[in-house]
């Protein structure tokens, strides 16, 4: 299958390993990955902060980026929240500003755009991707993957098949880590209180690694764990799935 990667702005600029791992994993599974070069950002931060007028050009840019460039069958992003934005916000924004044809085009792109675990399990039909990751791992499901995309236990199905790994259940896994984009700044104290509880739960598992399918949530949880000098690392789901015995785990 020809799979277009939507790297997302955050992964491109700050967490390239999650996007690169997605590419390595899909290529290892025998697929061709293409990177529509015009892509930038889905505009979620703008929409969720109330700047819908500013989000409109970003929606248009995203749709054009994926319509132009190399042809592709399905698109994938290593981020539940960015896929959620593409799927649930793009057409809505286009319609709000009266651009129905853009809305239709956005719907077409969205209907073929998947979050990584959805792509693997639902579209490609694999749960065992042949990964090897000899670590103790706990998994935070992230709100947008869970409730906007309804990925359910797909990430866990994938993780359970990873060899060498001990998967430890995270207590209160479904509660929000307190990131919420600009919420983390506007309501910094409440966000920090939520983070403290999430970190407490992560530490209670005794895991070495906290994983998730969203770099943004991992940035939040990882930022807190790093401040605590906890030694627990945050690692994107894609990086775990891309690891094999030969490559080993990313440092």
């Amino acid at each position: 299958m020809r799979i277009a990667l939507f790297a997302t702005c955050l992964a491109d600029a700050l967490f390239p390993e999650s996007a690169a791992s997605t590419v390595r994993l899909l290529e290892r599974l025998g697929h061709e990955v293409v990177f529509p070069p015009k892509q930038t950002c889905c505009g979620q931060m703008h929409v969720n902060t109330g700047y819908q007028a500013e989000a409109l050009p970003l929606v248009r840019h995203h749709v054009e980026a994926f319509e132009s460039g190399p042809s592709w069958d399905v698109a994938v992003a290593p981020s539940g929240s960015c896929v959620g934005s593409v799927r649930h916000q793009h057409a809505m924004i286009a319609r709000r500003y009266g651009d129905d044809s853009l809305a239709t085009r956005a719907e077409d792109v969205a209907s073929r755009t998947y979050e990584l675990s959805e792509l693997l399990v639902d579209v490609l039909g694999v749960t065992d991707v042949g990964a090897y990751y000899p670590h103790r791992v706990t998994y935070h499901p992230t709100c947008h993957s869970l409730r906007m995309l309804r990925v359910a236990d797909k990430p866990l199905q994938l993780l359970r098949a990873v060899r060498g790994m001990t998967l430890i259940e995270l207590p209160a896994a479904e509660s929000c880590c307190g990131f919420g984009g600009t919420f983390a700044l506007k309501n910094s104290e409440t966000s920090t209180a939520m983070l403290a509880d999430k970190m407490g739960n992560v530490l209670s598992t005794g895991a070495e690694v906290c994983s998730a399918g969203d770099s943004s949530c991992l940035m939040h949880i990882g930022g807190g764990l790093s401040r605590l000098r906890s030694g627990v690392r945050t690692v994107h789901l894609a990086e775990i799935l891309a690891s094999t015995e030969k490559i080993g785990s990313p440092a």
Partner: protein, 493 residues
């Protein structure tokens, strides 16, 4: 009497639906109260888990939610006609209907009705509508004592406190605190009373019984009003409400105009949705319904006041309108991670939590970003737990996003603030892959900030809002885009 629906003028709601400080400021204070956080955390966790179990027992829960949502959407689409039908049916059965544009008008109507009876005391069923209008305080100013009969509400009233939760107003109090409150404020209480829950409940019971037997006027809210029959329904747990609804001569019910349902049989849907969502019970212990006046049975004078207080403004907004579908079960509060940490008082209004964050600013309208209610739609991470819990499927996250846009758009005429400039700049950079790639290269300064630690631990304002409690990773040596062209040079472009 004519209805005021469809009136083109904006008439904002008044009363206890706007706080004095912004959510972040109020929350900051609440967060330092560790006892409050412990009480809230324990209570919401317990009820959250119970609700999940109670809901799981019902096979057709999703269909019920859809039915509830559809019924409410139908009500909103023809509210004027249903209100007139309701008024006709209440009147035909011997009741009197009054219309109140806002909280002040509603309070005045109640006061006049109580005065006309010659009584200076009323017993009250727990009611959000009278909390909203601040009726108790208004009655007190007019020399009329209002006695709350719901136990938790009584605790709040005697403690001269404000409710912190729709369903469990005293959720933030533990039993030692309640004993203190009773000792200080309950007349005739045994000075040696312990903090045993039973002892506390018996003291409240003795106190309330005296009031039930002497009171000649009762004031209630309503969970539902049936347009087809003019029937009103109150759903409660303790039976104190039923005492109020049956013993006094005069019953005055204050009800928001959105509480209507079209037919009596529609109660079937809501009576399945409400108790399980609210108290996690299969059925609540007391459901009282009354239709008009019946000779020698129950109150002989019966009044309904239909309260607008900003609701027609909400109705005018196609996206925001479904906030009026709310049946006040409080499930969204109990699952909300923000409510759990910040508590109900941080929301300023009598409607806290996720529903309050969308309802209060719509009821009052907002007057710019300094308005405390303008901060409410931003008091959420958009985690979506509220939508999943809501028995009538109110898409609270989407309405939050919608209200945020309204807030930002309403202030576009003024000078742009820091956030406006940041969002515009980010939009400009992200609007082009070339500019974005250039900005990524420029962000290499971040590598300097991070130094050799590999993480950034301190940034100037507003970045300090992040680094106050969290590190940031330094930007990587190579962006993804650069990695891609290095590793996929021959790849199709």
């Amino acid at each position: 009497m004519t209805t005021f629906l469809g009136s083109p003028t904006f008439h904002p709601g008044t009363g206890n639906i706007r706080g004095t400080e912004s959510f972040p400021d109020a929350a900051r204070k609440a967060l330092t109260d560790t006892q409050l956080r412990a009480n809230l955390g324990a209570a919401t966790t317990t009820i959250r888990n119970k609700r999940i179990a109670a809901v799981a027992e019902v096979d057709d829960w999703e269909e019920l939610r859809r039915a509830g949502s559809a019924l409410k959407a139908d009500v909103m689409s023809r509210l004027p006609e249903l209100l007139v039908q309701f008024e006709e049916n209440v009147t035909a059965r011997g009741g009197t209907v009054h219309w109140a544009r806002d909280a002040d008008e509603a309070n005045r109507i109640v006061t006049d009705l109580v005065r006309a009876t010659g009584s200076d005391e009323v017993v009250k069923v727990k009611s959000m509508a009278t909390q909203e209008t601040g009726l108790n305080e208004h009655l007190e100013e007019n020399g009329i004592a209002a006695i709350e009969t719901d136990l938790a509400e009584l605790i709040v009233q005697l403690g001269e406190d404000k409710p912190s939760h729709i369903l469990v107003p005293a959720i933030h109090r533990n039993r030692a605190e309640i004993r203190e409150i009773f000792l200080n404020a309950m007349p005739g209480v045994d000075p040696d009373i312990t903090d045993d829950p039973r002892a506390l409940a018996m003291a409240a019971r003795a106190h309330l019984r005296r009031k039930f037997l002497s009171a000649r006027v009762a004031v209630s809210g309503a969970n539902f009003g049936v347009a087809e029959t003019g029937t009103l329904a109150v759903v409660e747990s303790e039976g104190n409400g039923r005492m109020c609804l049956t013993l006094p001569d005069t019953l005055i019910t204050l009800m928001g105009i959105e509480k209507l349902i079209p037919k009596f049989t529609d109660l079937e849907v809501f009576m399945q949705l409400l108790p399980r969502s609210s108290t996690a019970e299969r059925m609540n212990p007391y459901t009282s319904m009354w239709t008009g006046v019946h000779p020698a049975d129950g109150p002989q004078n019966f009044h309904v006041i239909l309260l607008d207080n900003g609701r027609t403004n909400v109705l005018a907004d196609e996206v925001g309108r479904s906030a009026l579908h709310c049946i006040r079960c409080s499930a969204c509060l109990n699952v909300c991670p923000v409510y759990e940490r910040a508590g109900g008082h941080a929301y300023g209004s009598v409607y806290p939590g996720p529903i309050g964050a969308i309802l209060s600013p719509q009821l009052t309208g907002t007057t710019g970003h300094d308005d405390p209610n303008a901060s409410l739609p931003f008091a959420s991470t958009l985690c979506g737990a509220c939508f999943d819990a809501c028995p009538v499927r109110i898409d609270i996250p989407s309405i939050l996003v919608h209200l945020r846009a309204e807030q930002v758009d309403s202030e576009r005429h003024g000078l742009p603030g820091g956030q406006d400039l940041a969002m515009k700049a980010a939009g400009f950079v992200m609007g082009s892959e070339k500019r974005f790639a250039a900005a990524e290269t420029a962000s290499k300064v971040g590598r300097l900030l991070g130094g050799r630690k590999g993480r950034i631990t301190s940034l100037p304002y507003p970045g300090s809002k992040w680094t106050g409690s969290r590190d940031l990773p330094t930007p990587p040596k190579e962006t993804f885009r650069q990695w891609w062209s290095r590793t996929h040079e021959d790849g199709e472009k």
